[in-house]
Subunit: 163 residues, 2 copies
Amino acid sequence: MTTTHPFLRLFSRYLREQGLPITHQREAVAQTVFSSTDHLSVEDIEGCLREDGERIGKATIYRTLDLLVNSKLVEEHDFGEGFKRYEHRLSRQPVHEHLICLECGKVTEFRSEEVEHVESRVASEYGFAPSRHRLEIYGLCRNCRSAGVELPTTGISCPIDSV
Amino acid sequence: MTTTHPFLRLFSRYLREQGLPITHQREAVAQTVFSSTDHLSVEDIEGCLREDGERIGKATIYRTLDLLVNSKLVEEHDFGEGFKRYEHRLSRQPVHEHLICLECGKVTEFRSEEVEHVESRVASEYGFAPSRHRLEIYGLCRNCRSAGVELPTTGISCPIDSV
DNA sequence: CTCAGTGCAAACCGTTTGCAGAACG
DNA sequence: CGTTCTGCAAACGGTTTGCACTGAG
């Protein structure tokens, strides 16, 4: 990763506007996130940085991610894996939902206008002022399916119909 | 809480079928969850139990919740608060989505057939085999709105259009 | 009686924080 | 040069686990 990502300049501008120092570590973390189209964990980011010969503490990564999230250049996700993932919001559909493969963890993005309709319908129905939403569909991705993976059958279940 | 919840019998049956002992603690935890229509945290559950004069360790509560979730009688939720919440699935719309108030934490349930359409549409579009989904809309509930609460304006943001 | 369940406390693990030393502006 | 950042390591907080003891069957 020797090329400076153009989006990096947006982050620099943001820092400048906020009166915050533009440090090498902040640039390195931002560069890493902007260079990937994936949904990265902090561990992923740490690994990329190490590959690039950067030795940056986890605390600094977390602190820089806070800045990136506040700048709205990066979005934070929690797919229930026990840790967070980060995705940059540049050159990307501004609003999108996620498919998450339960087998390999792959995340696929998709658009859904329907959800926005639901949002406004529900807003008026419940007097609710929506701020943001999340729609996540969990299942098996194409690859894992064709590899023959099956979801553990519903297994242990309890007939709730027969109360 | 002196009345034995009828749903408790379903859990007892489940335990019996699994060859697991029906203990007083398990019944007490299940009873607590079944008696509430809310989305309870472990702390909530602990509090209810204490009120009822039950002295049950947190570990046992967690272990019993595992059983309840496996039995499919109870659903686990993570609304990004840093802890999980639990809701029983009895006498309730089998599939529903959630409105979460960012101010008071109130959770409201609603139905959306649209989401199921989205699910099947996306399934065929991406060759994805859906297993379950979650749609959560975050914002302000009616009460908080009429109490004059405002969401912190988007605040710090970065003009990503002007690359 | 025997084996699984319980309670306590310690371990876990991702994340946050305090503080001495290094860097930005 | 003063102020902020960084890195380390310790703290945090919800959850899990190990183990001696209790209790269900």
